[in-house]
């Protein structure tokens, strides 16, 4: 070691103990290159360290690997000096030192040069961009492409930098777009974005990060394959038919890995990709994922058993109380992916065999779909072939001896796990990288441990109920800002509940309303406003009515939004036209005459003959021998009662739309349809806060016209407070009894269970009261029918309204068109 070398080392040590130690540790790898090289190396290291401590540390740590891969110091030592040219380059430098060796190995001398030059170029321009570039994992950065294509990918970014768009924003979107539509797509996408960026920086950034609707719309436009969006209902129906499951759908990732899109689940929702290669693969994906859910891959007990198997008492939970899988695979270290795939193949096989029992022909169908695809190249192909081979053997009933037990109906995920451990021990399947993994799955299959899981109760046919009323908002997933519930009037406060009453962990009422965990008495001490109508309420625990317990007040809705009403009318113009056309086509039926009337425009021949005959037979029949045609002659009167509780402000999981948006549209269409039909109708909304303050909001009474006033009120509809349904039904019944019409229908529109602040957290209490209110209504000749958006409505609606007296619309998009249609069917067309 020369004196000059020693001098540098001492200098480093003097400045920092760490620097000296790291430099000495790195030195052996360099010394064999000769004295001059060692000196050159140390000088660069020293300069970097003095320039930026982190950059220097990265330099020394990576040395051994870099020297090995580059067989010396060139050109990386010179390349490293670029980080000395600007302030604050340490993040870029760290990324460079971490990845340079890997790039050299995978993409050769030329590839590494391009990778470096592209990044170095950004150091002068925008240091943060360079950092984002060098830190992006090279597997993602390069994708399935080479270095030349990397240049093409980055070319548009220079132009965009003039519009002050950093590489960080651009790269994230660009690699995704490249995965989805290839390099040409990137150019097109970047070009279009330039104008958007010029129009506004924030809008432009959202475009490049693929966060805005216009960016999503662009991708949907160019994406090849089968779009799932318009067919969500079909898949929901199929899933329900085969497995009895009805889970909410949420938007999945654009492309998970390597451009392949997967259907995933967290045990509570399905994450649906925008597109899949074709319809068949989409169907298989829904069946396969349904099979995982139905046959216990995500069952609470089974998952506990898995963790016990590796010696952990309780699976680790994340902040959302979901189970995280990682520890299960930790023992495999860097070979984790290989084991996961072996495990996935066996667990997939288990549920596929179970599915075959339910759905004969499922395995052959899977095989057909797999055979139509080319075996993926590279290591992924080995896994693909293994999965196909096993599926084929399962199909012909010739599974290898060690796997026969997977085919039994009793087999569970634990058996698959144990068998995977055994097979992994002597598997010849090659190691695989994350980038390669995506291609390894058969059509419709996907990584089973892709997401943390909300464990399911065994045999559960529906998603776990975390908070009633909140399920439309799908708590636990990314929360979007919500519109704050508006207050109906100054004196029916939402947020003005005394603070001591809102402490607690309830939260069953609506969304975002803190609910008392304990209620003192039954809302004792709360003084509601005077006046109104009082009604009895059923207490199932005492098995008797509480007289004059609930007090109903009629209030006017103050918020009006005429513009929104017009907007909605325009949006649903097509639907409205179709509906009106259908109604007009029915008009002859609708105008079916009232027979046997005392007066009317034409004689009723049957009645007249009977009259004559009976007269001649010596009787004195009534002269009801006319027929009448009047538009209002239909004998059905309907009152639509809409649940306006806070939960309607929640966003539905799969669309980001709120219930209230659909509710406004639905009620508007309903009103328009009813005007066309001519049936007497009324529109009411309701909400509640404690038993003494049940609020009914008349939007259109029976004797009022459905005019601009009512439409504006619908346009301004918003959610507030809770859902004391029983009292609302009793009051509506009273209104209906005063209406014209012999048949009286009370149509209730809701999105969750009845609940109120003072129900003591007992969901059964108000549910039982509602049941009684429905019964009382029926005794008085008012028929109640509930349309619910609650996907779990099937659990309690039959109890409350009775079989056949309710309907669950799991997709709220169906509501606007569905509501008038449902009414017309209830009422009977002809």
């Amino acid at each position: 070691m020369s004196a000059a070398t020693e001098e540098i080392l001492e200098h480093l040590e003097a400045v920092s103990f760490v620097a000296g130690r790291d430099a000495r540790a790195a030195l052996p790898a360099v010394e064999s290159l000769g004295e001059a090289a060692t000196l050159r190396y140390l000088e660069t290291g020293r300069d970097l360290f003095f320039y930026d401590r982190e950059a220097g540390k990265g330099f020394f740590h990576a040395t051994a690997e870099l020297v090995r891969v580059f067989s010396g110091l060139d050109p990386w030592l010179d390349q490293a000096r670029v980080f000395l040219t600007q302030r604050g380059t340490f993040r870029a430098a760290v990324g460079y030192f971490e990845q340079a060796a890997q790039v050299r190995e995978q993409y050769g001398v030329a590839g590494e040069k391009i990778w470096y030059e592209e990044g170095a170029d950004w150091i002068a321009r925008h240091v943060d961009s360079a950092a984002a570039y060098f830190r992006m994992p090279i597997a993602r950065l390069f994708g399935a492409y080479g270095a030349e294509e990397l240049r093409t990918l980055l070319a548009p970014a220079r132009e965009l930098a003039k519009g002050r768009l950093g590489l960080a924003s651009y790269l994230e979107g660009a690699v995704k777009v490249r995965a989805i539509c290839g390099l040409d797509g990137v150019e097109d996408w970047a070009m279009r974005g330039r104008d958007i960026l010029a129009a506004g920086r924030i809008r432009g950034e959202a475009w490049y990060k693929l966060e805005s609707d216009e960016a999503r719309a662009f991708l949907l436009e160019v994406l090849p394959g089968f779009r799932i969006g318009p067919h969500k209902r079909l898949f929901a129906l199929l899933l329900q038919a085969w497995t009895g499951l009805h889970l909410p759908f949420e938007d999945g990732d654009w492309s998970v890995e390597g451009g392949r899109s997967f259907l995933e689940t967290d045990g509570r929702s399905l994450f649906v990709p925008a597109v899949m290669p074709d319809r068949e693969e989409a169907i298989l994906a829904f069946y396969h994922t349904g099979a995982h859910l139905a046959f216990g891959s995500y069952d609470d007990e089974a998952i506990h058993a898995l963790f016990r198997e590796i010696g952990m008492e309780h699976p680790p939970l994340d902040a959302d109380q979901r189970i995280t899988w990682r520890p299960l695979f930790a023992q495999f270290g860097t070979d984790l992916l290989r084991f996961q795939l072996v495990f996935d193949i066996l667990e997939d096989l288990r549920v596929d065999i179970a599915m075959e029992r339910e759905m004969p022909g499922y395995l052959p169908r899977l095989m057909r779909a797999a055979e139509q695809r080319a075996v993926p190249p590279g290591v992924a192909g080995a896994y693909w072939r293994e999965a196909m081979q096993l599926t084929h053997l399962a199909m012909v009933g010739q599974l290898p001896a060690d796997l026969v037990s997977l085919a039994s109906a009793e087999a569970g995920i634990l058996d698959a796990f144990r068998l995977a451990l055994a097979r992994y021990a002597h598997t010849k399947l090659p190691s695989i990288t994350l980038a390669e993994r995506a291609a390894a799955f058969l059509p419709g299959h996907s990584p089973n441990a892709a997401r943390p899981i909300y464990p399911r109760k065994h045999g559960q046919t529906d998603a776990v109920e975390m908070d009633a009323g909140g399920q439309l908002g799908a708590a636990g997933h990314k929360e979007k800002p919500r519109e704050a519930p508006q207050q109906a009037e100054g004196n029916d406060p939402d947020m003005e509940i005394p603070p001591e009453d809102i402490q607690g962990t309830g939260g069953r009422v609506g969304v975002g309303i803190p609910m008392p965990a304990k209620v003192h008495g039954s809302g004792r001490g709360v003084q509601g406003p005077k006046g109104g109508w009082s009604y009895k309420e059923w207490d199932y625990r005492q098995e008797k009515y509480k007289d004059n317990w609930a007090r109903v007040h009629e209030r006017k809705l103050r918020e009006r939004d005429e513009a929104r009403a017009v907007e909605i009318a325009a949006e649903y113009d097509g639907t409205m036209r179709r509906l009106k056309k259908a109604l007009q086509a029915q008009k002859p039926t609708r105008m079916a005459p009232l027979r046997r009337q005392k007066e009317g425009e034409e004689p009723d021949i049957d009645a007249a003959v009977q009259f004559v005959v009976e007269r001649r037979a010596g009787q004195s029949p009534k002269a009801n021998i006319y027929r009448q045609r009047r538009p209002m002659q239909r004998d059905t009167a309907v009152l639509l009662l809409a649940d306006l509780s806070t939960s309607i402000m929640a966003e539905a999981a799969d669309t980001g739309l709120r219930v209230v948006d659909r509710l406004r549209a639905a009620m508007l269409l309903f009103g328009e349809a009813l005007v066309e039909v001519g049936d007497p109708f009324a529109l009411y909304g309701f909400a509640s806060k404690y038993h003494q303050e049940v609020l009914l909001y008349p939007i259109k009474r029976f004797d009022e016209r459905f005019d601009a006033h009512a439409r504006a009120a619908l346009g301004g509809l918003s959610g507030r407070l809770a859902t004391r349904m029983g009292a609302a039904i009793r009051h509506s019944t009273r209104q209906l009894l005063r209406s014209p019409g012999q048949r009286r229908l009370l149509l209730i529109l809701s999105d969750g269970r009845p609940a109120d602040y003072d129900d003591g957290g007992d969901p059964r209490y108000l549910q039982e009261d509602t049941r009684m209110a429905v019964r009382e209504a029926l005794e008085q000749g008012v028929h109640a029918f509930c349309i619910s958006l609650d996907p779990r409505g099937g659990d309690y609606l039959p109890l409350v309204f009775g079989q056949g007296h309710y309907l669950v619309l799991p997709q709220m998009d169906q509501l606007p068109q569905g509501l008038p249609e449902i009414y017309l069917r209830l009422r009977g067309h002809g």
């Binding site: 038919a241 004969p360 005959v613 029926l778 028929h783 309907l807 009977g828």
Partner: protein
């Protein structure tokens, strides 16, 4: 004025045994009700065998069966009877209910909720210990024949939400619930009724079990045993399975394209593309 009974046509006796496959103890319950002449109410979805069951019982009891399919415009005089003019005189004609009451037939009011509400008024006195039928227009009241039995049926589906029978009416009847039979029996029924082979009958039934999971998804009725029999019949007559299913099951059941696609997908799984 003459009061001759106008119904000259002979009452309908069922001479050949209608095929009925019991699912539970419905024969026993019906026989017990018959023994005490208690009125019976058959509840159940479309096409699950209510009417067939009653035909079978009428055959078994060797009683004539008078069936009235109720509809919106059916009034009590349609049931009880009316005066007609014949030549120069007016003639009283018994309605189907009156005939059954007089002659001791089983009177079957199918889908009774469809009828106008005034019909229940004439039913009431027939359903309790009085067993009387008041005929206002004749100013008389007739006592039912000892073998008279009243049977009504209705389908507690959504169509009846507005027309549901009053609880007080329902309580006058012995209620019998009908549902679609268990898979094995249903397959036998399809086989027997349609002449289809066991394999395809079994598949039809298996597929419909899945299709019936979609019950709450639309207002539609679920796939009925009758629809399966129709599909089986068409298949036995040589129609391609999926064509038969489309024609006999899916098309009559729904106009909703997504639902139809879902149903088709389910049946295709069993009957191949």
């Amino acid at each position: 004025m003459s009061q001759s009974s106008h119904g000259d046509k002979a009452l309908r006796y069922i001479s050949e045994e209608p095929f009925y496959q019991p699912v539970g103890n419905e024969l026993g319950i019906f026989m017990a009700a018959w023994g005490r002449r208690l009125p019976v109410m058959l509840k159940g979805p479309t096409g699950c065998g209510k009417t067939r069951f009653l035909e079978h019982m009428a055959w078994r009891l060797k009683r004539p069966l008078i069936t009235v399919a109720c509809h919106e415009d059916l009034t009590s005089s349609d049931l009880v009877g009316r005066f007609l003019i014949e030549g120069d005189e007016t003639v009283w004609q018994d309605g189907p209910l009156t005939r059954a009451v007089r002659e001791g037939a089983i009177c079957y009011l199918d889908e009774v909720v469809e009828a106008r509400t005034d019909t229940t008024v004439v039913i009431h006195p027939l359903t309790d210990h009085r067993r009387h039928l008041p005929i206002d227009k004749l100013g008389t009241e007739i006592t039912a024949h000892p073998d008279f039995l009243l049977v009504i049926s209705y389908n507690p589906g959504y169509q009846t939400v507005l027309k549901d029978l009053k609880p007080s009416t329902k309580q006058r009847f012995v209620g019998m619930n009908f549902t679609y039979p268990p898979a094995e029996l249903e397959a036998q029924i399809v086989m027997r009724e349609s002449g289809l082979d066991a394999d395809r009958s079994g598949k039809l039934v298996q597929a419909s079990a899945k299709a019936r999971n979609l019950k709450d998804q639309g207002l539609q009725e679920v796939t009925s045993t009758r629809a399966l029999v129709y599909a089986g019949t068409l298949m036995a007559a040589g129609l391609a399975p999926l064509e038969a299913i489309e024609a006999a099951i899916i098309s009559p059941q729904t106009d909703d394209p997504e639902l139809a696609a879902a149903l088709m997908e389910i049946f295709t799984t069993f009957f191949g593309a």
